[in-house]
């Protein structure tokens, strides 16, 4: 049984996910909706930004950069933009999907709060194209919010105006990378831009200063404004303040999104507690787990007692990333898992940079032949050598040879699989087949 003391403030960002029809304005208002915005509009914009700075809210997209600091880096300009990243495509991440479909007003309220603090008069919500229902709900909520006076001209009579546009993606993992997302929003192929000079805070959308924030990040803002940044910062541990949604999937009994206070819950709690994952599927032993999306190096059972904070996980050589935890039980072939992840990167590489474009395909080919029993013993060193050419040194965090971080993310699962399960690679090659096939 669980010995976790659940913070009385929880859940914050996911509080409406289980409420029926919370995507409708009526339900949203009856559960405290738009109160944060009303309070924010009574404050000075810089004081709203201060609260977010005090909250130490870390960006929820994957990089975990403090949102308040990101805002403070926005270059002053006459025209600047706010873009919300709802392109959620990191494999095994599905928190934004739920937030968009079930609580779109919270996102819209967060966007208006952020726009007010930043002095932005046009904001875009980039929603993944595959979320057909999400796009419908988000646009319907936006229409309601306009009618209610929470978006548009002279919001609630405050003398502040912002227009919001819901923009659909069209199916490309790379568009979750912020500069690629901006390219896509400009109606172009989603090729990431090189930094410098294209730091969004300086040269973003249409070359104007732009803040790009994740859906979950802005969804936290109404609560932070209402309760104060200090209340948010009081939760959590070290620099990982507040609470966060963890998306648990793979071979657990109860996969799902679970909001927990940062640092107060371990991977063991998340995977095994009845109130969260409920244990391993088929009651088998845990083999390994991915702590933060497929770009993150894997962990073994020895890391189960790590608390869920950015530092604790970084110290052990991986990352919290997008907060998606994938569980492998003992029946899973680690070679197959690593091959599948490499196939994903191969399919999603945009093709701009040689190490990523060529390397991803080469790695996928080698991994596929090992998995299907056609590998050669030298393939193990070869695949690591190809990885080393994308991210020299194979260290963590990876060194970068490419414009964006997609390329350097490719080696992590391969290196993890080889380091943790080398004997399985050898067995595949010696026996000429997948040793986990029934």
């Amino acid at each position: 049984m669980s010995d976790i003391i659940v913070n009385k403030n929880l859940p914050i960002v996911s509080k409406r996910l289980d409420i029926k029809e919370a995507y409708k304005l009526e339900t949203y208002l009856s559960t405290g909706g738009y109160e944060g915005l009303k309070k924010a509009l009574q404050m000075n914009p810089e004081d709203v930004a201060d609260e977010v700075m005090k909250a130490s809210l870390l960006g929820r997209g994957g990089a975990g950069f403090p949102a308040g600091r990101k805002w403070s880096m926005l270059k002053p300009a006459r025209v600047k933009y706010l873009v919300i990243n709802g392109d959620e495509s990191e494999p095994a991440t599905f928190k934004d999907h739920d937030l968009i479909e079930r609580d779109p007003h919270q996102i819209i309220e967060g966007v208006v709060v952020a726009s007010y603090a930043l002095g932005v008069n046009q904001a875009f919500i980039f929603c993944r194209g595959e979320f057909a229902l999400g796009l419908e709900r988000l646009q319907a909520a936006l229409n309601e919010a306009y009618d209610y006076g929470a978006v548009g001209a002279d919001i609630f009579g405050s003398g502040f105006s912002v227009d919001i546009v819901v923009h659909p993606g069209a199916g490309a993992y790379i568009c979750g990378e912020e500069t690629s997302l901006l390219q896509s929003l400009e109606g172009k192929r989603g090729y990431p831009r090189i930094k410098p000079p294209y730091f969004p805070a300086v040269m973003g959308l249409y070359n104007q200063p732009t803040v790009v924030n994740n859906i979950e990040t802005v969804s936290n803002l109404p609560w932070i404004v209402l309760n104060g940044g200090d209340a948010f910062a009081a939760m959590g541990q070290d620099s990982s303040a507040g609470s966060r949604i963890f998306a648990l999937s793979g071979q657990v009994k109860r996969p799902g999104n679970y909001e927990v206070e940062m640092g107060k819950v371990t991977f063991r709690n998340l995977i095994f507690d009845e109130s969260y994952g409920g244990g391993i599927l088929d009651d088998l032993a845990l083999k390994a787990f991915i702590p933060g999306g497929v770009s993150a190096p894997w962990f073994g059972p020895e890391h189960l007692d790590l608390p869920l904070t950015q530092e604790a996980i970084a110290n052990k050589g991986s990352m919290l990333g997008s907060g998606s935890v994938v569980v492998f039980n003992e029946s899973t072939c680690p070679v197959k898992a690593a091959w599948r992840i490499s196939k994903f990167f191969y399919r999603e590489s945009c093709g701009q940079c040689t190490p990523c474009r060529e390397g991803s395909g080469w790695i996928e080919k080698i991994m596929h032949r090992i998995e299907t029993g056609n590998g050669r013993m030298e393939d193990i060193d070869l695949v690591l050598d190809v990885c080393d050419n994308i991210a020299p040194g194979l260290s963590w965090p990876p060194k970068q040879t490419t414009i964006c971080v997609l390329g350097p993310s490719i080696p992590s699962s391969i290196v993890s699989a080889v380091n943790m399960f080398k004997q399985d690679f050898i067995d595949h090659i010696e026996k000429g087949k997948c040793t986990f096939d029934k």
Partner: protein, 208 residues
């Protein structure tokens, strides 16, 4: 009368107005055109190019980058099956194999009767319902073999025609208004806010 319907042209005119740059409407317009025809027809590409002010080659070149746009005709129902890690761990490969057999079609192929196109998809963010499947971008899952066959049967018989509309993720997305904050209003507000901020800063430095 052009190739795109009047309804789409009306939606297009709003889209062209709400972005600071017309080209930004390119991808939403491709979604709308695909909603009408099921795929991006050469005629639609020419019209979109005219609307946003680029060449047809640029529209095609942009659209071909994205997985969701079809440049060839597809079946009435595009069945996208995720086989990425979270679904793989829950039997997605076996399900995809079953789907190929039961629909009698390979990955990327369309059934003879034009009802189904089968695709292998990357993570669709439905991992809590793995293995998950999208039909015309509507979620289903978790599915086993029997569940998949039932789904196919329901799609064939038209039982799900409300839940699963025909192509186009923007067909039911309705924005019939342009921007509400006019540039003059924005400018006036900004002047007021900036001078108020200056005053506050001046007071603050005086107090110190």
């Amino acid at each position: 009368m052009g190739h795109l319907s009047e309804e789409i042209i009306n939606k297009a005119n709003i889209l062209l107005e709400i972005y600071p740059n017309k080209r930004s409407a390119l991808i939403p317009l491709c979604h709308l055109a695909q909603g009408q025809d099921g795929y991006l027809t050469p005629e639609a590409i020419v019209e979109i190019a005219d609307l946003v002010g680029v060449t047809p080659a640029e529209v095609r070149g942009t659209a071909s980058f994205y997985d969701m746009f079809h440049l060839e005709p597809v079946g009435k129902h595009v069945v996208a099956m995720c086989t990425n890690i979270a679904c793989m761990l829950r039997g997605a490969d076996e399900l995809l194999e079953h789907a190929q057999e039961s629909l009698d079609v390979g990955i990327g192929g369309t059934t003879q009767d034009g009802q189904f196109t089968l695709e292998e998809a990357e993570c669709l963010a439905g991992c809590n319902n793995a293995p998950c499947v999208q039909v015309n971008h509507r979620f289903f899952g978790p599915l086993d073999n029997e569940g998949f066959d039932r789904l196919v049967e329901d799609l064939r018989s038209g039982k799900l025609k409300d839940e699963v509309p025909e192509h186009g993720v923007l067909n039911r997305v309705d924005r019939n208004y342009g921007l509400k904050a006019t540039p003059d209003q924005v400018q006036a507000e900004r002047d007021v806010m900036e001078s108020a901020k200056k005053e506050r800063l001046a007071k603050k430095s005086e107090a110190n």
